[in-house]
């Protein structure tokens, strides 16, 4: 019976950041996604406000309440995210770090990878980006690298497929 290591007062342990940044184009991609989220309700409210005069204030107010923080976020957050989002593929694992307010580090070992898919949404295609989805046997263990250059993504998927194809068993 072994008991978990105590850390023995050797200082703080932390996860080192993965080596690679995402493609630079994720910043405009994220920005457009935000705008697509924020703008429709704002536009609807503004349009209604223009048409319905008596309720104008009560329509413009929520429009402003959505628009101002939404636009600020669209302006500032993507750059910030870009600095913290990172990924890395080592010989033994796929490693990714995402988020700022809710940070998340995910590790999926090579030997347990079951499928490697690349996915490209219409917006991603416009920006020349792609997402690589690495799934393991766990329903909750998928690692998504969103925002790679699509050629890099295809290469990466190829490479991962080759490495993991050699793994025997059903990786559970």
């Amino acid at each position: 019976m072994t008991v978990s290591g105590t850390g023995a007062g050797t200082g703080t342990v932390r996860l080192r950041p993965p080596q690679n940044r995402f493609d630079r184009r994720v910043v405009p991609w994220w920005r457009v996604q935000w705008l697509l989220l924020v703008l429709p309700p704002v536009l609807v409210l503004v349009l209604l406000g223009v048409l319905i005069e008596p309720a104008r204030f009560w329509l413009f107010l929520p429009a402003a309440l959505i628009a101002v923080p939404g636009l600020l976020a669209a302006l500032l957050l993507p750059g910030w995210w870009y600095r913290v989002h990172r990924w890395e593929v080592t010989e033994s694992a796929v490693y990714i770090h995402t988020g700022y307010f809710w940070q998340e580090w995910r590790v999926a070992p090579m030997s347990r990878i079951q499928t490697v898919d690349t996915v490209r949404g219409p917006l991603q295609q416009a920006f020349g980006l792609a997402t690589v989805v690495v799934t393991t046997g766990s329903a909750k263990g998928a690692v998504k690298i969103e925002g790679l250059d699509h050629e890099v993504a295809a290469e990466l998927a190829e490479q991962l497929t080759e490495i993991t194809g050699a793994t025997p068993g059903d990786a559970t």
């Binding site: 290591g5 200082g11 932390r14 940070q103 995910r106 898919d117 766990s138």
Partner: protein, 526 residues
């Protein structure tokens, strides 16, 4: 979407019309002919319960004779149709267990030919509802236990066949496991002790069943247009009594009804319960009063166990034991049923003993482990959540009270007095539950207050780690470390563990997985 599959693992299990390996010498088999009888009887029940109200409704405008003719005619058509369809289904359904594959062909217009590779078959479960049992039939459910998008497609349902045929299928399909270790069949691991029934009313099912009964009463009375009368009748019963008394009495009545319901449910679910280890390394749970169930879990699918202690059951010193195995919950609906339960609520020591025997360990890892508690900051977080949720309830009550009626303000005050201590107690208890540790081959994490769960997960069953840290956790120096696995719910977490300790725990639990990504600050400043 351009996709590439990493290996043949997940889609391989399912194939349509196997090309190469079909030695035609294994004969096709048919379902039991009595399936027509079963279908007609079931439909007859439905027709009867639907026909009686229809007859009553029609008898008023059309007179008894014509109403009877209509209803009987409709019922006869329905039953004939059912019999015909079921007969066709029986004619066109066939299955066989070949040396390589289990195959099932179904369908009349849309012919479905499905087959499972035998080496991928993980579970063979037999269930029989009362009607099937009377006829000596069972439903066979063959599953591969893969997390594929195909989901339900990796399950073959062969229903109904005779009980003997069901047993034959079960034995034959699960027999591909190595048979050399036949000496390891230590037979019975646990049997039902009728005294366990005392834990049934303590489960959360009891109050829910009580509420359900109350709701059903109101709904049923509404169907018959009697709801007002029922409310009036209850009001008359409590004539001259304060509202508080009435509410309390009704609550007690519903609770008692719920407790009775929970007892009934327990008897139905767990009657004749026994847990065996069968040759070839299969755990088998058999249970059920009216509907009999037989659930098999291959031992090599087992990645650990979960000891569950819902609050009421924990307070009476009992615990339930679940298997953490791959391939048990293939679809959403499966997760709700309790196919993973190895032992119903029973005295905790017994649960630990059974856990040890199931895992073939001298002592259950859930009791052998020395769990390390989590930093005090985790308690602060839980207390703040408790306070926040109480304040949320109270604030909305106050707002409504100010806007609508004075009574709600008093309710809000009462809520503060009652809920605050309860929430605080639960928060402290939840903090005390937190723990993590390593013992032998297992990683153990514990959390939860209303539903305390202690999971012992095989370290070689961990197939990845996720570390999460919110801004608040960062300030408090906490992280949530989650081990992902192919078994059970897919991920088990150590919540709000100290950052360094949690990361080292993960690094040590599975060497070489998280370790390469850890770094150490020599001076200890965060």
């Amino acid at each position: 979407m351009s996709g590439t599959r990493a290996d043949g693992a997940s889609p391989e299990g399912m194939h349509t019309a196997p090309a190469g390996d079909a030695p035609a010498d294994v004969p096709w088999q048919k379902l039991d002919r009595r399936t027509v009888l079963v279908a007609v009887t079931l439909m007859g029940g439905i027709a009867f319960s639907g026909g009686v109200p229809a007859f009553v409704a029609l008898a008023v405008p059309f007179g008894v004779v014509r109403a009877l003719a209509w209803v009987l005619g409709g019922a006869a058509l329905l039953l004939l149709g059912t019999a015909g369809l079921e007969y066709l289904r029986w004619r066109h359904t066939r299955y066989r267990i070949g040396p390589e594959r289990a195959e099932l062909h179904t369908g009349l217009l849309l012919v479905k030919r499905r087959s499972l590779r035998r080496e991928r078959i993980r579970t063979v479960d037999l269930t029989a509802h009362p009607l099937l049992r009377v006829l000596g039939l069972v439903k066979v459910r063959i599953g591969t236990g893969e997390h594929s998008a195909a989901g339900a497609d990796s399950i073959l349902q062969i229903t109904p066949v005779t009980r003997r045929e069901g047993d034959r299928l079960r034995r034959e399909l699960l027999d591909h496991a190595v048979r050399e270790d036949a000496e390891e069949t230590d037979g019975r691991l646990a049997t039902l002790d009728p005294r366990w029934i005392r834990y049934a009313p303590l489960s959360f099912a009891a109050p829910l069943l009580g509420l359900g009964a109350g709701g059903a009463l109101m709904q049923g009375s509404e169907w018959f247009g009697l709801q007002v009368e029922v409310i009036q009748w209850v009001g008359d019963l409590f004539d001259g009594v304060t509202v508080l008394w009435m509410v309390l009495t009704l609550a007690v009545v519903l609770l008692i009804a719920g407790a009775v319901g929970a007892l009934g449910l327990f008897v139905e679910m767990w009657w004749g319960y026994r847990l065996d280890r069968e040759p070839g390394g299969t755990l088998r749970v058999q249970r059920g009063l009216f509907t009999s169930r037989s659930i098999s879990i291959e031992e090599r699918r087992l990645r650990g166990v979960e000891v569950l202690e819902p609050l009421g059951i924990r307070l009476s010193g009992a615990a339930r034991l679940d298997a953490v195995a791959t391939g048990l919950a293939e679809t959403e609906t499966d997760q709700k049923t309790d196919r993973k339960t190895l032992l119903p609520p029973a005295p905790k020591e017994l649960a630990e003993t059974v856990a040890a025997r199931v895992l073939r360990e001298p002592v259950s890892p859930t009791s052998a482990v020395r769990l390390r508690g989590h930093p005090v900051a985790a308690r602060g977080r839980r207390l703040r959540w408790a306070l926040g949720s109480v304040l949320g309830v109270v604030a909305s009550l106050l707002l409504l009270g100010v806007l609508l009626t004075q009574v709600l303000v008093w309710v809000a005050v009462a809520a503060v007095v009652v809920l605050l201590p309860v929430a605080a107690l639960l928060a402290v208890d939840a903090y005390r539950s937190l723990g993590h540790g390593l013992t032998g081959k297992y990683l153990v994490v514990r959390s939860g207050s209303m539903r305390r769960a202690t999971v012992a997960l095989r370290r070689d069953g961990v197939i990845g780690f996720t570390v999460k840290q919110s801004v608040f956790q960062r300030r408090a120096g906490l992280v949530t470390v989650t081990a992902t696995t192919a078994a059970g719910v897919g991920a088990y977490s150590a919540y709000d563990v100290g950052q360094s300790e949690g990361l080292e725990f993960a690094g040590e639990a599975v060497p070489g997985l998280l370790g390469p990504f850890l770094e150490r600050d020599p001076d200890g400043t965060p």
